[in-house]
C-alpha cells in the first residue's frame, strides 16, 4: 500500500491493516506525524495540536510492532490516535488550553489514558481546546484558535475543537473528546464527524481535568460509527478512582453494529424543530430521518417541554461547579504563579487573574455569585430542581420511543470572531445539546450532509446505557448514506 493512502484509512481499517501485516505501526505513525508537522504547525496550520509527542509516539509504535511480533497484540496495538489536552498524561505537558497550566506535567495518567496504553495504542499528541473546556468555538484557548478544515475562516466548534479539526483534516484517525454541554457533539457536527457523549458514569473522569463534575463525560470523536465503537470499547470502564463511575458491564460495541432497526421508534421533539429553525437545517434533518424510516423505523412526535430551561439551568450548575473545581489553581502547588506576591491574598488573586482567560473568569464569577450566602437557594437549588424536570421529560419520552432525534446545532460553523463579543449569544450555540448533559443521557452527532459547503450533524439522544443501540443505528444509517465519507476540500 502506498504511504499517501494511510491517512484516508479509517481507524478500523488501520487496525485490520496492522493485523494483516500490510504496514507497521512505525510506518503509519511516521506518516501521521509528518502530516501533522506539515499541515498543523506554523501560521497557516490548523493549530489543532498543543503538543505533538513525536519521539514518544515513535517509541510506542516500535514497542507496539514488537508486541505484535511476539503474538500478543490487541485490536488497538500500534493504532495511532490523539488525546484532548484535558486528559492528564504522565510526563507529558497537559494544559487544558490554559496559561494557568502552561507548564503542568502531570505525575500520573488519566484512567482513559491508561486504558489506551494498556492496549498498546499510539498517542500522537494532545489536541487544542477551549480553555478548561469552556467554549463552543475553540476561540478561548490560550494557545490560539483552531481553524475548521472545511473553511479556514470558520470555527471548528468547541470545546473539543482541536480533536474535531485534527480528525476532519485526517491528521489522526480518531481522537478523544469531553462533553459538558455539547463539547463533543457540536464540534463533531461542525467538522463532519461521528461523536458520542456516553451516559454519565460510563467513562472514568479520573485524571480528566474537571470543569463541571456532575456533567463532564469523555467520549470518542471519529470518522464513522464503527470507529467510534472501537474507541468506546477502550474508553469505557468502571473505575473505583472515580466516585461517580458506574459499575455497568462494558459490551463490545463493535459486535452489535449490524442489528436490524426494524420496529425502532424515533421520537422527534417539537421543541427541537421550532418555527425559527433554519429551513435548510430542518430539511437536512427530515432527509436523515427519512433514511431511518426506510431502514424500518417509525417516527413519532413528542414533547420535551422543559428544554427551554436547559440553558438557564446549565449556566448556574456548570459555573457553580467550575468555581469550586478551579479553586485549587492557586499558584501554590502547580500551575502559574505571579511574580513577587506581597502576601498570600495577593498570590492567589494575581496568579488566578493572570492565569485564567476571560471566559473562565466570567464562569468562575457567576458560579461564585450563585453559591454565595443568600443566593444559593435562588440559583443553585432552583437549577437542580429544573434539572429534575428536564430529566423527567426524557424519562417519560423514553416510555414510548427508542431514540430521540433532532439537530445538534441551529446552524453550520460560524465565522471566527462572529460571536466572541457576546457571551450569551455564544451560549445559545448549545441550545440543543445542553439538556442531555443535565439529564446525564448519552448523545451522539452523526454527519447529515452540508449546508453551503459546511457540515451539519443529526443528533441522536438515547436512553441511559443505550450506547450500543446508538452506534448500531448510526452505523446502519452510514451504510445507506455517504455524508460521513465527505472530506474537506484538498484533504
Amino acid at each position: 500500500m502506498s504511504q499517501t493512502a494511510f491517512h484516508n484509512l479509517t481507524l478500523t481499517e488501520i487496525s485490520k491493516g496492522l493485523e494483516a501485516g500490510d504496514f507497521t505501526s512505525v510506518e503509519i505513525t511516521q506518516h501521521f506525524l509528518d502530516r501533522i508537522q506539515s499541515l498543523d504547525t506554523g501560521d497557516n496550520g490548523y493549530n489543532s495540536f498543543i503538543t505533538i509527542s513525536a519521539e514518544q509516539a515513535l517509541a510506542d509504535a516500535k514497542a507496539a510492532d514488537e508486541r505484535r511480533a511476539a503474538g500478543n497484540a490487541t485490536q488497538w496495538t500500534g493504532v495511532p490516535f490523539a488525546h484532548k489536552d484535558i486528559f492528564c498524561t504522565d510526563g507529558v505537558l497537559t494544559t487544558c488550553g490554559s496559561k494557568m497550566l502552561g507548564n503542568f506535567i502531570p505525575p500520573y495518567d488519566a484512567t482513559v489514558v491508561e486504558n489506551f496504553k494498556a492496549q498498546g495504542a499510539v498517542c500522537l499528541g494532545k489536541t487544542n481546546m477551549d480553555e478548561f473546556a469552556m467554549g463552543s468555538s475553540n476561540e478561548s484557548s490560550f494557545f490560539g484558535a483552531v481553524k475548521n478544515p472545511w473553511n479556514l475562516e470558520t470555527i471548528p466548534g468547541g470545546s473539543s475543537g482541536g480533536s474535531a479539526a485534527a480528525v476532519a483534516a485526517r491528521l489522526v484517525p480518531a481522537a478523544t473528546g469531553t462533553d459538558t454541554g455539547g463539547s463533543i457533539r457540536q464540534p463533531a457536527a461542525l467538522c463532519g464527524l461521528t461523536g458520542l457523549k456516553p451516559t454519565y458514569g460510563r467513562c472514568s473522569r479520573w485524571g480528566m481535568i474537571a470543569y463541571a463534575s456532575s456533567l463532564d463525560q469523555a467520549g470518542p470523536m471519529a470518522r464513522n460509527a464503527e470507529d467510534a465503537a472501537m474507541m468506546l470499547n477502550v474508553m469505557a470502564s468502571f473505575d473505583t478512582k472515580d466516585s461517580t463511575s458506574v459499575d455497568q458491564p462494558v459490551p463490545d460495541y463493535t459486535t452489535t453494529l449490524n442489528e436490524s432497526l426494524a420496529g425502532k421508534v424515533i421520537g422527534l421533539p417539537k421543541e427541537f424543530f421550532p418555527e425559527s429553525l433554519d429551513g435548510e437545517m430542518a430539511a437536512k434533518m427530515r432527509e436523515a430521518i427519512a433514511e431511518f424510516e426506510k431502514l424500518g423505523c417509525t417516527v413519532k412526535e413528542i414533547s420535551l417541554p422543559s428544554t427551554q430551561l436547559a440553558i438557564p439551568a446549565y449556566y448556574v450548575v456548570a459555573p457553580a461547579e467550575c468555581s469550586a473545581n478551579l479553586s485549587r489553581m492557586d499558584g501554590v502547588r502547580f500551575g502559574h504563579r505571579c511574580e513577587d506576591p506581597k502576601d498570600v491574598e495577593d498570590l492567589y488573586k494575581r496568579s488566578r487573574g493572570e492565569g485564567f482567560g476571560d471566559e473562565v473568569k466570567r464562569r468562575i464569577m457567576i458560579g461564585t455569585y450563585a453559591l454565595s450566602t443568600g443566593f444559593y437557594d435562588a440559583y443553585y437549588v432552583k437549577a437542580q430542581k429544573i434539572r429534575r424536570l428536564i430529566k423527567d421529560d426524557f424519562v417519560k419520552a423514553f416510555e414510548e420511543v427508542d431514540m430521540i432525534m433532532g439537530p445538534v446545532t441551529p446552524s453550520p460553523a460560524f465565522k471566527m470572531g462572529e460571536k466572541s463579543g457576546d457571551p450569551v449569544e455564544m451560549y445559545m450555540e448549545d441550545i440543543f445539546t445542553i439538556a442531555i448533559n443535565l439529564a446525564g443521557l448519552p448523545g451522539m452527532s452523526v454527519p447529515a450532509g452540508q449546508i453551503k459547503g459546511l457540515p451539519v450533524g443529526l443528533q441522536m439522544i438515547g436512553n441511559y446505557w443505550s450506547e450500543a443501540l446508538m452506534l448500531n443505528m448510526a452505523h446502519q444509517f452510514q451504510q445507506v448514506t455517504d455524508h460521513h465519507l465527505a472530506a474537506p476540500q484538498g484533504i
Binding site: 506535567i105 473505583t240 494575581r350 432552583k382
Partner: protein, 95 residues
C-alpha cells in the same frame, strides 16, 4: 439582575481573582446579561420538585480502608512553582 461595580468587585474578591479597574465595567455588563439569562428559570414553579444532584441518583460508594497509593512526594512536587526541603513555599502568613 443588574450588578453594580461594587458587586463585581465583591464577587471577584470572593473568587480570589484580580480584576483591573478598567475591566470592571466590561464584567459588570457581561455578568448582568448572563444573570438575566439564568433568571429565565423563574418562569416555572418548582415548589414541589426534588433537586437532582446526580443524573442517575447514585450514592457515594464506600471502600475498604486500606492503602492503595504509594507516596511519591518528590514527583508530586515537581510542578510546584516554589518549594524547599519538601515543602511548598508561600509568602509569610503569620507574623
Amino acid at each position: 439582575m443588574a450588578l453594580d461595580r461594587s458587586d463585581v468587585q465583591n464577587i471577584a474578591d470572593l473568587a480570589r481573582l484580580a480584576i483591573s479597574d478598567e475591566n470592571l465595567d466590561k464584567y459588570r455588563t457581561e455578568l448582568s446579561s448572563i444573570l438575566d439569562l439564568v433568571e429565565q428559570m423563574n418562569a416555572v414553579n418548582t415548589d414541589d420538585v426534588q433537586p437532582l444532584a446526580h443524573p442517575l441518583d447514585a450514592v457515594q460508594r464506600l471502600r475498604a480502608d486500606v492503602v492503595t497509593e504509594e507516596n511519591q512526594r518528590e514527583k508530586y512536587m515537581d510542578n510546584a512553582p516554589a518549594k524547599e526541603a519538601g515543602l511548598f513555599l508561600v509568602p509569610k502568613v503569620v507574623e
